[in-house]
């Protein structure tokens, strides 16, 4: 079985689903037998999911409209 360091080397590609079937098999065998790496894997996937679903850093529509309004006013003033 691969070591934790070896697991970690391919971890990023694994959570992004970018490893070959052979590498995936090795990583999943390791995950099934190493509690620490499983916790790392599971909590990292949860982190990605929470961040992805969070809708954070929304720009409030009134702020956005106000900025665009100011920009367009300046551009129109420059054109006239």
């Amino acid at each position: 079985m691969i070591t934790c360091d070896e697991f970690f080397a391919d971890f990023g590609d694994y959570i992004d689903n970018r490893v070959s079937p052979e590498v995936r098999r090795e990583l999943e065998l390791h995950l099934s037998q190493c509690r620490a790496c499983y916790v790392l894997y599971d909590s990292t996937c949860q982190t990605v999911k929470i961040v992805t679903d969070s809708g954070s850093f929304e720009l409030p529509e009134n702020v956005s409209e106000s900025i665009i309004g100011q920009v367009m006013a300046k551009l129109r003033a420059g054109q006239s």
């Binding site: 052979e22 982190t47 929470i50 954070s56 920009v71 300046k74």
Partner: protein, 601 residues
């Protein structure tokens, strides 16, 4: 006497012994590289492994492959060299003649006929090789190890032939008159037969911690390309290739690493090899070349901002690599006139040979891309399907057009460029959130991001007439946001670096927090609480990680687009994304591990 001058190497030169022990003489193809003895050593070591290591294919079978490849390219020198080796191994002359004419007609076993069919197709129509060809080999019991061995031997034949065209060595023995028959003039494509879905052979796991070539690749490239991962069934051949590539590409005493990477990119593009185009675009980005410049070299280097001399270097390499039947001593003289020394010309030829080796091997094994090739190149590629269309001395009509990429904003952008303010307003409305998030990511402050948005939008309008559709409008807009944000931080003496650290991203970040998380952690908090937690956590990340995490996990951009936006290579983006996610995970862990009360309680 070959195209380039030779210098004496001394009797002790180790490659002499290797070749003389094997063939009885030292090939002029290698002697012609005496201006850079390290290149002779690299090729000798490599050939020794490929030709002499015993796998599923015998030595004689490999020499037959080398002979057929040379004959199909009309390369008298390389065909004579392979013929000499075959004669030494007891192959009668009439059988060699027959092999050159029609390998199926000399009574070879059916599996070897199939193997030679595959190798000849690979050598002459590399991009037409597909899974059906491999299936046929398997029906004859030829396994993955032997398929790799055959493909590597074929690619070695291409390496030799490319050098033979560029150096034009005299045959050591009596000149062999090749049998008549059609000869190819460049690496060609048959359109109707393009269904490559690889990889064609399995690739058992090899660890970078125990397999030294992988560790070396991590250092030199910042990642292990699929090109090498796909060959783990034959670690000996894989290691020999990694060593050959390092010996040719890493020294900077003759051509620079960037010059060599541009050669690899331009010749791969001319050979229509998207896999290698994507790899070398990314490696060049890692060396500091902007994404658009890499795309332009792939599409038509004449319109790039390379120096006149470096454009001449690429003209030379493309002709040698892709239109070899037109190559002559005049091309060597032209490069000398452009200011290149003979050792530099030699190195350019060897890099081109290495490129053709890689292009052929990638196609032969159906190796899957590590990254997406540039969209602009993929669109242009359809116009570059015949050998004569590929750019060399003069920009062709097809290559003089600016290559537009698919962009949902194309129509609005065209109107905005013509001065239509309504179109511009619609464009900035579509992308205001993207600009805001990019600014927030770099500035680390939402209020400052809102302040800077106006500047970005006004700057975009000011420069839109010069926007050339080589990238998407959104990519261009984020580049402006990035530059504005960095300018803003510099004004406040707040230095921030989002730049690439050449292949040296910190990769040793290891998580400390390893407690289990609760099931469905999102349910423990309200949506608003989660948003606040995430925003705080992301803002606490160092800027280079924050930017990548926001663009990927909040803005859902592709890795390739993020790399383009930020002027980074994809491997660097991947490393930063993982590290950023892990840091964020550490930050969130106290809130989601069992027994931990809500943060705001």
């Amino acid at each position: 006497m070959s195209f380039l001058p030779e210098v004496a190497l001394g009797d002790e030169f180790q490659p002499f012994a290797t070749f003389c022990g094997d063939l009885g003489f030292f090939p002029n193809l290698l002697r012609a590289q005496s201006l850079l003895p390290r290149l002779i050593k690299a090729q000798t070591t490599f050939e020794k492994v490929v030709r002499l290591n015993r796998g599923g294919i015998s030595r004689v079978q490999k020499e037959r492959i080398l002979l057929c490849v040379a004959v199909d390219r009309g390369d008298v020198y390389c065909a004579s060299l392979a013929r000499t080796a075959l004669l030494l191994h007891g192959e009668p002359d009439h059988r060699i003649e027959g092999l050159a004419r029609d390998h199926a007609g000399i009574g070879l076993p059916a599996d070897e006929v199939a193997l030679l069919d595959y190798c000849r197709k690979l050598a002459s129509h590399a991009l037409s090789v597909n899974s059906a060809d491999i299936e046929r080999l398997r029906q004859y019991g030829i396994g993955g190890e032997s398929i790799i061995e055959a493909a590597v031997t074929t690619a070695l034949g291409i390496y030799r032939c490319t050098l033979s065209v560029g150096l034009r060595p005299e045959p050591e023995c009596e000149r062999w008159n090749l049998p008549p028959g059609p000869k190819i003039s460049g690496l060609e494509v048959e359109h109707e037969a393009r269904s490559p879905k690889g990889p064609y052979v399995s690739a058992p796991y090899l660890s970078p911690q125990t397999f030294a070539p992988f560790a070396t690749l991590m250092t030199s490239h910042g990642f292990i390309p699929n090109f090498f991962r796909a060959q783990t069934l034959r670690p000996d051949l894989l290691a020999a290739q990694a060593e050959l590539a390092a010996a040719i590409l890493l020294p900077e005493d003759t051509l620079t690493r960037s010059q060599k990477e541009t050669i690899l990119l331009a010749v791969s593009a001319a050979n229509l090899n998207s896999y290698c185009v994507a790899v070398h675009c990314n490696l060049l980005r890692g060396l500091g070349l902007p994404a658009e410049e890499g795309d332009q070299i792939a599409i038509d280097h004449h319109r790039s901002s390379l120096s006149v001399a470096d454009k001449a270097l690429l003209d030379f390499a493309i002709k040698l690599g892709s239109r070899f039947s037109e190559f002559s001593l005049d091309d060597v003289d032209r490069l000398r006139s452009a200011g290149f020394t003979d050792p530099q010309i030699l190195e350019c030829e060897v890099v081109t040979a290495l490129n053709n080796f890689s292009n052929v091997l990638q196609a032969g094994l159906g190796i899957e891309p590590d990254f997406d090739p540039p969209l602009a190149y993929e669109r242009k590629k359809t116009h570059l399907t015949t050998v004569s269309d590929r750019p060399t001395q003069q920009a062709s009509a097809a290559s003089s057009a600016v290559a537009d990429v698919e962009d949902p904003d194309a129509e609005l952008t065209a109107h905005a460029r013509a001065g239509n303010l309504e179109a511009f307003e619609e464009l900035i409305r579509r992308h205001s959130r993207l600009v805001y998030r990019a600014l927030t990511a770099i500035l680390g402050n939402q209020d400052n991001a809102q302040d800077a948005m106006q500047d970005v939008m006004l700057s975009a309008y000011e420069h839109i007439a010069g926007f050339q559709s080589r990238s998407k409008f959104s990519t261009w807009l984020v580049s402006i946001a990035r530059n504005k944000a960095i300018e803003y931080l510099r004004k406040r003496k707040n230095e921030v670096s989002l730049d690439e650290s050449p292949f040296g991203e910190d990769q040793d970040f290891r998580p400390r927090e390893l407690r289990d998380w609760v099931d469905n952690p999102e349910q423990a908090y309200s949506r608003q609480e989660i948003q606040q937690l995430i925003e705080k956590g992301i803002m606490a990340l160092p800027p280079k990680y924050r930017t990548v995490v926001m663009l990927r996990d909040i803005e859902h951009m592709s890795m390739e687009d993020i790399a383009r936006h930020l002027g980074l290579s994809v491997p660097t983006v991947k490393i930063r994304l993982l590290r950023g996610r892990l840091m964020l995970r550490e930050w969130l862990a106290p809130h989601f591990a069992p027994g931990v009360r809500k943060a705001n309680q």
